[in-house]
Symmetry: C2
Subunit: 222 residues, 2 copies
Amino acid sequence: MKFERSITMNVLVIGANGQIGQKVVNLLQESEEHTVKAMVRKEEQASALAKQGVESVVASLEDSVDELANAITGSDAVIFTAGSGGKTGSDKTLLVDLDGAVKTVEASEKLGINRYVMVSAFQANNRKNWNDSLLPYYAAKHYADKALEASSLSYTIVRPGGLLNEEGTGKVAIGEQLDRGSVPREDVAQVVVDSLTTQNVNNRAFDLTSGDTPIKEALQRL
Amino acid sequence: MKFERSITMNVLVIGANGQIGQKVVNLLQESEEHTVKAMVRKEEQASALAKQGVESVVASLEDSVDELANAITGSDAVIFTAGSGGKTGSDKTLLVDLDGAVKTVEASEKLGINRYVMVSAFQANNRKNWNDSLLPYYAAKHYADKALEASSLSYTIVRPGGLLNEEGTGKVAIGEQLDRGSVPREDVAQVVVDSLTTQNVNNRAFDLTSGDTPIKEALQRL
């Protein structure tokens, strides 16, 4: 039995098959607060999730705003952690990481979604700190974040440092401009999930690295 | 001697070596109202313009906002008609057509520039009408236009149809959503130059094709 104040949300995870996405789905599936739906690109991904007991919807970020609204409908919150990845070209960076993300923002606005949590990139807001070898990706994330900030949604933008596969520590640093650092994907996933219900990070954007502060406390203190 | 009301502006043309850019420079050079400065990427382009009697500044849209502000400083108005072109990849579409354009908007804001005229693409504002074979380009133009609209600048966004090299007719159609059509680059250049001083198109965006209405009248009537 839980005595803390809890907010129950139907959460749609966009990019649920990604490395962070899978961890987010697992956390939400385990959570007593929320229910999760996974948005994935392929039927076989949906089948694998069904076996795991996770509901999913098949859609592509290259679909129209209306089609994406159909995928999102029924959700109270959206977590965006999709990415076109390093194997495709900058055309997909523009059409998926930027325009795809913005279409889900527009679809969420249409549907009156309460919360939108975006997984962005470290210092994507600060052109001078973009990673020289990934400039198109940083530009795409920057403009997607700007569109989210300009939207009517209650948003949180999480900008993690270098992503690690090692186990999470549950302790992080969160701030509007941090020194470059790294962070386990497991901790990123926990920050994203806890951001859903932490009032203090509504309409905020922050860098995230490993640190000394427990995640909930770090979000409360931002 | 001119008796019409005239507004004299120092106009910077970004992308002055492009096909529309060259025509814009020529119109401004001939004009009795304005003086022109050309922003080009290469010293040899600057030398060629100097022989033609046109002042220029060498800068790249991949430079920083501060460097671009140095190139723009002293101008009353900016015309953006640059494009990375079809020979480079979508990485340049993101970094030049989108982020490069937005950096000139930010630099112009810093400098308190009065007017900014953007050459965009037909129906770039309307995702459903983007040219299927040029989706990344349309996406880049769309988000550059959105950033300009969200800026503090007094802007005009011109979205020409299919660009022709034939002689201009001086007659056009202008509207917020036109049927697809084409238009000579010469007419686009004249529309852009006349937009500088036509109060009615301040903070407006419009499609442009060939039509039946003289350019000044079409701008007045929008």
